[in-house]
Structure formats: C-alpha cells, structure tokens
Subunit: 283 residues, 2 copies
DNA sequence: TGGTATCATTCATAAAAAGTGATACCAGAG
DNA sequence: CTCTGGTATCACTTTTTATGAATGATACCA
C-alpha cells in the first residue's frame, strides 16, 4: 500500500469520481481507474461502489479513508522532521578526554543546551587515540582530543591550550611509578617522554580506566601522574605539583569532526562555541 | 516518500549495510544502493554516512528512522482495519420509514448493536420512494420500505406485515382533508386509494415532513391521517381509529439492499435479524 | 607485502509499474 | 432515440525498480 496509491484513493473518495479525481491529480482518467483497481486487488476488497454517475465509498473504503488521511499526514510529518533536524533536533555524540570533560566542557555544554534544547547531546569519554578512531568511523560526531590528526577528511578546530604538571604526594616527587590512563592517552605520551628525557629510568606504569582511580592511588603514595594544571589545582588533598618545561607541558586540544559529517545547525553551534574558547588560556 | 522506500531504508539502517539489507529484502545490492540514493535525493539530505565497512545512520537518518517505523506500523494497521471491517467495524447506513423507526426497529437495532458494538449504524428516515432511490444510489446501505421494488439489482427481505388504520379526532372521521407525509410515502398512496374508492371526493392533502407534525394537526382537528395500528394505538390523546379493508390496510414492509453491497458480517447480521421478524404479525 | 574477502557503487539492460490516448460501454436526461 | 457525462478496457510509451556483471575501496590474513 504505497503512499501514492493512497493519494489517488483519497482523490477519488473526495471528488466522488474517477474523472474529477484524475483532473485533480493532473493525470488521465484511465490511470486513476487502473490504480484504484490495483489498490482494491491489493486489499482484496472493493473500496468503491460503482454508480451510474461516479463512485461512492464502500464501508471498507470509509475505513481505509480514515487511515489514509492519517498515513498521509504522518508522511508529511516525517518529511518535515527530517528537514527540521537540519535546523535543530537530532542528536550529536561528543567524546572528550576525561580531564576536558571535567574542566572545560561543562560551561560550553550548558550554553549549547540553551541554544538547542531539542538536540540530544550524548557525551562519552575516552583516550585521544580511541576517540580519533571513533570519529573516523562515525561512532562519534566530534571529539575533544589532545593531539592533531593527520587525515584530511577531518576538520580540526583549536579548542584550548593547557599546561600539564606532574602530581604526586609530598616526598614522592621522584617516584619511578607513573599512574596513567590506558594506552592512547595524549598526556601519557608526554609524561613518558619527560621521564625518559630526565633519565628517570627504568620507570613503571600503572594503567587506569578513570581519573578517579589515578588520583586515589596517587594520594595513597603509589606514584605520580600527569594532569592539566587546572585539574591539579582543584584536587582535594595534599599534593605536590611539579612544573614541566613548556615543550612537554603545553598541550593544545582540538575539537575534531569528520568533514563528511552533516553540518547541521546544532553542529555548527558546537564548533562555533569551541572556537570562542580558542584563547591561549595558558602561556 | 513511498512505503516501499522506507522499507529498504529501515533494512539498511537496521542491518547497517547495503548487502545485508539486500539479502533481507531478497534483492541485489545495487538495487538497494539506488533506492537509498533516490530517497536521499528526495529528502535532500544524506541519511547515511558511508563507512569503509557498511553504513551508519546520520543524525537526519535517525530522525527519519523513528518516523519510518511509525509509518510502517500505520500502514499495517490500515491494511488490518480494512480486512477487519469485513468482519466487524465499518459502518452501515440504514433508512426507515418514520413509523417503522418508531415501532419495529428499536429492539432490532439494540440486538444488532450487542452483536456488533464496533459497527457504526447511521439511521435516517424518509419516504419509501426516497429511500429506494438512495439505496439504488448507495447513499443508503439498506432501508425499510413499504413496497416492493422491481429492480433485480436489489435484494428484498420480507420484514413485517402491518395493518393501517385511519386516525382522526372523534367526530372528524369523514373529513375530506388528508394529513400525510410528503410525496413518496407508501402509506399515503393507500390512503388516497381508499378515499377515492369510497368516493370521498374531492379531498385535499396537507403534506408534512414528520410524524409529529401530522399527529399534532390531527389532534387539532385539521383532518385525518393513516397510520400503522401499532403506532395509532400508542398515540397520546383522544383519537378515533377507523379500520380499513384488508387489501388497503395490510401492508408488507421489506428490508431492501443492493445486491452489489458488500456482504460484510455486520450486514449479514442485519439481514438475518430482519428475517427473524418475518412473522405475519397481523392477520 | 601481496592476496583474498567483503562491501558499496556504477553501468547497461530487463522487467514491472505508472501514465497516456483512443475507444467501448453504460445509464440517465432530453 | 440520441446525447451527455461518466467508467472500463486496450495497446502503447515513459518512468521506476530490479538485475548481473564489473569496478573500486578497504580490511584482514598470512
């Protein structure tokens, strides 16, 4: 039962005749006759009673007419919804490093939600490497990551700049144990680079899935970790913060998304908001 | 946006790929590819993001998917409703002479409604001639009329037999004024026939649209009228009832409907109920 | 690194559906 | 009776949908 068939059905039902319906449909009368017959074949029931002059709905026809109206209306709605979703609505999946999610994103997300209350924003966290892969696979619409990506199918917007510091418990600053995220974290690479550079070798690494786990273990004196200064300053407890040289410490984060991702209005808003943050927040 | 197009859209969305969808749809991939493309052209928006392996819904695609499910379900419903209306549901329009509507029909209608609570019964009244025409034109599904009709496209079921009597105010029995329905009433023909036969000429006729009007005017002494005995006996007020010879008085009513009217279950019930009343209620 | 399997797309073409125009047919009106 | 206003039927064209084979891209595996 195709939508177009229902349209001719409605035309005949409303005009009470094949010829008048044909006129309204801008087609020829024989075509209308044929399509009605096909529809009747399909539902196995006569939809009209042929009168000497015109046709009149049968009981079954009246039933179908009701439904046909609804169906047609729904089709219109669907069409509308899809166009509208370019403007608003729909959903966006955004990934971010856990640290970014904690510090930078909340205010931005708030603003976004005010501007697009109908757009569903689904947040997830992951390591830089994981998220880059997900963006490339369209499992994420966009992501906040800690390194650039050399792939010209990807748009990258500078998001913010931050300074990494080493965090440990007092007296534990020279630990050879590094507590970090699982492989793929942008910060982890920096930390390892630093330890290698200052020759604190060999060092061992403990991997964690969440930031909470890392911080908990650092405060228990298990070792040291690397965190954005913003995050480190807000830690509760007694920690020592050790500066790092700029080339290690300063990391630029980017909001990335695939070029092929549809640029809906909400998506544009998101990128725009990201750009507004694009001030060197840290020297 | 045809239903069939949405079916392939859903298949692709659910299986996450053209090939798997094609398999499910029992057709070749190239066809699925083409139809998806056509749908995308139609809505002017990419519905899927092409990944290296398979396809994934875009934000707009997700929106459409929701609607597609609803639409498909609605279509199923419509199809079902039409078949079901053969069994039950739907509507039947029944016409009857006002006198029949008052006396014989109520109990029958009640039974009918108990058996088919989902069938809408629309009642109307009219003269025999009017209703015969309406049945022939399918403006009525069936009707209770006071004469047979010589048209072999029409089914006629004996409904009941009744006795007509003349009704007047006491002392007004020989009035030359006949109060009757508008032209086309089966009883009116009988009354005129009677007056002619007994030579009460000339007589004049006042036409009315409703039985109430007739009765009111009769009781005001304007003239006499002809009514079924059953009805006459139940009139409130002081009336004289005059018998008529059998050939004038006894009238058979019939439930008629066109042969071409679909014999739905409810319709069959109606005819069956009519036949149960088919007892000579009056000698 | 090359080989193989898995997908999507493209293209030429076949089959089916929708649309056309002419004509036949039917019933009511004059 | 013919005329008129309508539907149905028919042979035909156009459009849409479906097919099969070829192409290309990418992942997976050795």
């Amino acid at each position: 039962m195709e939508i177009s068939a229902l349209k001719v059905f409605i035309a005949v039902a409303e005009t009470g005749g094949v010829s008048t319906a044909a006129e309204r449909l801008h087609c020829v009368q024989s075509n209308v006759t044929a399509r009605i017959k096909k529809l009747e074949d399909e539902v196995q029931v006569p939809l009209f009673m042929r009168k000497s002059r015109g046709m009149e709905l049968s009981a079954q026809g009246r039933v179908l007419l009701d439904h046909a109206y609804k169906l047609l209306d729904m089709e219109r709605q669907a069409r509308l919804a899809v166009s509208a979703s370019l403007e608003d609505g729909g959903s966006i999946s955004l990934g971010a490093m856990e640290t970014a999610m904690a510090v930078r994103l909340p205010s931005m997300i708030k603003t976004f939600h005010q501007r697009h209350p109908h757009t569903e924003l689904s947040l997830s966290t992951g390591t830089t490497d994981e998220m880059i892969k997900q963006v490339l696979n369209h499992q994420l619409d966009c992501a906040v990551v800690g390194s650039t990506v050399e792939n010209d199918g990807v748009l990258q917007y500078p998001f913010f700049r931050e300074r990494l510091v080493l965090v440990s418990t007092p007296g534990d600053e020279t630990s050879h144990t590094l507590l970090v995220y699982r492989k793929g974290c942008a910060y982890r690479a920096r930390a390892e680079e630093w330890l290698r550079r200052i020759g604190r070798l060999p060092f061992n690494v403990m991997e964690f899935g969440t930031q909470e786990g890392i911080v908990g273990c650092v405060s228990a004196g298990l070792g040291l970790t690397i965190l954005p200064l913003e995050v480190a300053k807000n830690l509760k407890g007694d920690f020592t913060i050790t500066d790092l040289p700029d080339d290690i410490a300063i990391v630029d984060t980017y909001l990335i998304c695939k070029k092929s991702t549809i640029q809906t209005k909400p998506m544009k808003t998101l990128l725009e908001l990201a750009n507004q943050q694009n001030l060197s927040q840290v020297a």
